[in-house]
């Protein structure tokens, strides 16, 4: 790659190593046919981030035969390619060669989102109307009189009509929805206030009255729509970033027919009894039994076990595990809809239902606030009726009360804080799904971690290396470069730097489940399982581990361990320091879990927990009144993630888990967890302050309104004044940024200088 490397790349490098990109068959399955022999495919290319990238991709792809056009969208990090003919051009290999690994975009993210464009159009219409009506209103306040005032009022009424119909619709719909289900939300008083203000002003205009509130009703909608649009943009951005990551479940597989022919079939067509061919590096699409071939499997995302697992004919394999070293023929035991992946989805849905709905702060407040407002307005109407008997005056006062109390500030109080907080999280590589997640995160008192891939990196790191000669290490690294096994990759990256030139090995053969063998100057060199590498040489110790041998003599040995995530210790200490209780729930074996728990000084841990066991444990915590943050990455964590009060997942996790989690962090550091908790708590405090400010404002303004002193001018000043105060208060969250960023180690900070604009 030719340019700046954003932090997300570091994570994706890992994924890149794991995935070989979609095959031509997969592309054919998911292309869109545009007619005239033209096909289109949308690919996610997460590593695109500047003009040079755009140009490299677009010119690189246009040079291929049959490619009609290629267009990069930098905001969503996708490339859309149109081509002619039935054969797929070398799109993915070309992109990989250019340094941009691509994979199929999720249909979910590719769908054009109509809500956003509706919101933006509504903001535009409301903004236009607000500006013009305000101008007319200022003229009225400045003393326009008689027919001029009537003309201005009529014009305002006219301009406000499309706003009511178009922008107001969003609120009316939501309010109606809430009322129909017997609930109250902030949109109910908003809708009522706006409609009442408009109809009363219309009546005033018809009867040549002095005061019309068109400006109030329109600007109210305008401000609120801004808040709503910001909220939506934030979620959109997070979703695009998350759905751009690699999908775990393949869309199909190569089926071996009884007569030996091989066909690519879509996942839905695969049935029990079929035989599938799985190449090294591919993921296994359905539950199956191995018929032929030996290999190693990476099960870390599925079962939580960190070590790779050797398999041979007869072994059962679960959907979602990755085949690492050798080609396999497997016999399907369950269709995709009955496989491990689907089972997790069902568990997740059940967990989701068991959780019970969370009510957002704004809804809880408005449930208290709306009745008070409505009763106050009604009482002032009745009071003025009793006092004066003038029903026109009474309605005017009641409407003024409604407009003054109309929760402009309240409607902004929550979203504006959450947008600022989400932006801060985004700058630190953390995506938040929506505002309610942030509110829930502020309430937690317990954090439950998964081990593999969450507290640890989920990949093998070298722990202990024994050798007598540096040269042996260089030779081992050169041999390791031929294999994709995680252990080989780790040895290669650790030691290849030391040797400037590659060792000229010949006859390199990879023995799945055992290791790699090659000859050098007639001598047999092996890198792999200790017992296999030392075969026929020294008596091997009954010791696990990886060895490098020449003619059966031990030259170097390597011990592997799943390494702790960056800053895991600091993050755990930080969380414990804020009074949260911590716990580990892992599918891995007890000794491995105990070791990690010991290193991090976490007292509570459960090992060998099944996915349903995790859900049960969370349910148990919930019944004792705990609010739990679940941090996990694997398929086996997905049900637990959706059952927890709030959940977090690293971007390297299984896509199903990523979709279930409320927060997704893109960087390696686990400091994302305490940072998110802290930002959520700060945001929570600011939201409460904002509510307090809104209440104080009402305590001052409502009596004035009840006494009938409110004119449209006063209403406009009071409303915008309170909104500005609330926005200003929310922005204080940004100001604190510098003090917090010291948590990030220098390495992370240096890579965060990329342009990551949210809004």
């Amino acid at each position: 790659m030719s340019c700046c490397a954003p932090a997300i790349d570091m994570m994706l490098d890992m994924e890149r190593a794991k995935s070989a990109g979609p095959s031509d068959d997969e592309i054919l399955l998911s292309r869109r046919q545009l007619g005239n022999g033209l096909s289109q495919i949308d690919l996610a290319v997460p590593s695109v981030h500047c003009a040079a990238c755009i140009q490299a991709i677009e010119t690189g792809l246009s040079r291929l035969a049959n490619i009609e056009s290629a267009r990069v969208n930098l905001s969503t990090k996708r490339v859309s390619v149109n081509w002619r003919g039935s054969a797929v051009p070398d799109i993915v290999p070309t992109l990989a060669r250019l340094g941009y690994p691509a994979h199929l975009a999720d249909e979910l993210g590719a769908e054009k989102d109509g809500t956003l464009s509706e919101l933006i159009t509504a903001v535009a219409v409301a903004g236009f109307a607000t500006g013009n009506i305000m101008l007319l209103s200022v003229s009225v306040w400045a003393g326009a009189d008689g027919p001029t005032r009537d003309l201005f009022h009529w014009l305002s009424a006219l301009i406000a009509v499309p706003v009511m119909a178009f922008a107001g619709r969003i609120y009316f719909r939501s309010a109606w929805n809430a009322l129909r289900h017997g609930r109250m939300n902030m949109d109910v008083p908003i809708s009522l206030g706006v409609t009442l203000a408009y109809s009363m002003s219309l009546y005033e205009t018809i009867t040549h009255g002095h005061h019309a509130y068109f400006d109030a009703s329109v600007s109210l909608l305008f401000f609120l729509l801004i808040g709503r649009t910001l909220d939506h943009l934030m979620r959109d951005r997070a979703r695009a970033a998350v759905s751009g990551l690699v999908r775990l479940s393949p869309r199909g597989a190569i089926v071996i027919a009884p007569d030996g022919r091989r066909n690519y079939a879509a996942l839905t067509e695969i049935e029990p009894g079929m035989r599938l061919f799985i190449a090294a590096g591919e993921r296994i699409p359905v539950n199956a039994i191995v018929v032929e071939g030996r290999s190693d499997l990476d099960c870390s995302l599925v079962t939580g076990e960190s070590g790779s697992q050797g398999i041979e004919p007869g072994s059962a394999v679960l959907a979602g595990v990755q085949n690492l070293t050798g080609p396999l023929t497997i016999e399907v035991t369950a269709a995709a809809k009955d496989s491990f992946l689907a089972e997790m989805v069902r568990l997740m849905e059940a967990a989701e239902q068991g959780k019970g709905a969370y009510r957002r702060i704004a809804d809880r407040v408005s449930a208290l606030y709306s009745p008070v407002v409505h009763v106050t307005a009604l009482l002032s109407f009745l009071g003025w009726m009793a006092a004066t008997g003038d029903w026109h005056l009474s309605i005017t006062v009641a409407t003024a009360v409604l407009i003054i109390t109309c929760p402009c500030a309240l409607g902004l109080a929550v979203p504006i804080v959450q947008v600022v907080a989400a932006r801060r999280l985004f700058e630190n590589g953390i995506m938040v799904k929506d505002g309610s997640a942030m509110e829930r995160l502020a309430e937690i008192d317990t954090v439950v971690f998964d081990k593999t891939g969450t507290l640890t990196m989920g990949r093998q790191g070298l722990r202990d290396v024994k050798f007598s000669d540096e040269h042996d290490l260089a030779m081992a690294a050169s041999l390791a470069a031929f294999s994709r096994h995680p252990a080989s990759v780790a040895i290669d990256t650790a030691f290849s730097v030391r040797s400037r030139q590659r060792v000229p090995y010949e006859n390199v053969v990879e023995h799945p489940g055992l290791g790699i063998e090659a000859t050098l100057d007639g001598r047999c060199c092996r890198l792999g399982r200790m017992s296999w590498a030392l075969e026929g040489g020294d008596i091997p110790d009954l010791q696990a581990g990886t060895a490098f041998s020449i003619d059966g003599a031990l030259r170097a040995s390597f011990d592997f361990n799943d390494s702790l995530r960056d800053d895991a210790k600091a993050a755990v200490r930080e969380l414990a320091g804020t009074g949260l209780s911590l716990e580990i729930l892992s599918g891995d074996k007890a000794p491995a879990v105990a070791q990690v728990a010991g290193l991090l000084s976490i007292g509570m841990f459960n090992a060998s927990v099944l996915p349903s066991g995790k859900v049960d444990r969370l349910a148990q915590l919930r019944t004792t009144g705990k609010r739990v943050l679940m941090v996990g990455d694997g398929l086996n964590d997905a049900p637990a993630l959706s059952s927890a009060h709030v959940s977090m997942a690293p971007a390297t996790g299984a896509d199903i888990g990523r979709n279930a989690a409320d927060f997704v962090f893109l960087r390696d550091s686990l400091m994302a967890v305490p940072l998110s908790v802290q930002i959520a708590r700060n945001a929570d405090r600011l939201i409460r302050q904002n509510f307090a400010l809104a209440v104080i404002y009402n305590l001052i303004a409502v009596p004035i309104a009840i006494l009938g002193f409110v004119t449209p001018l006063i209403a406009a000043i009071a409303m915008s004044g309170s909104s500005l105060i609330v926005i200003g208060n929310a922005l204080r969250l940004r100001a604190k940024k510098r003090g917090l960023s010291i948590f990030w180690p220098a390495s992370v900070k240096s890579s965060s200088g990329t342009r990551e604009s949210v809004l």
Binding site: Q55, V72, S75, A124, L135, P147, T148
Partner: protein, 51 residues
């Protein structure tokens, strides 16, 4: 009052023009890739269109 007869329509027309322009830009996908548009300025292209 007489000036208002033409000033007001002009003001509203200009405002509506701006609104129309914005909605047109939105419909034609000019807001689909803001980051990309910002970066594409930097790409050198010959008058022929071939980079």
């Amino acid at each position: 009052m007489a000036t208002l007869v033409y000033l007001l329509p002009i003001a509203l027309f200009l405002g509506a023009l701006g609104l129309g322009a914005f909605l047109w830009a939105l419909r034609t996908g000019q807001y689909d890739d803001l980051d990309g548009a910002a970066e594409r300025v930097l790409i050198d292209t010959n008058p022929g269109g071939e980079p």
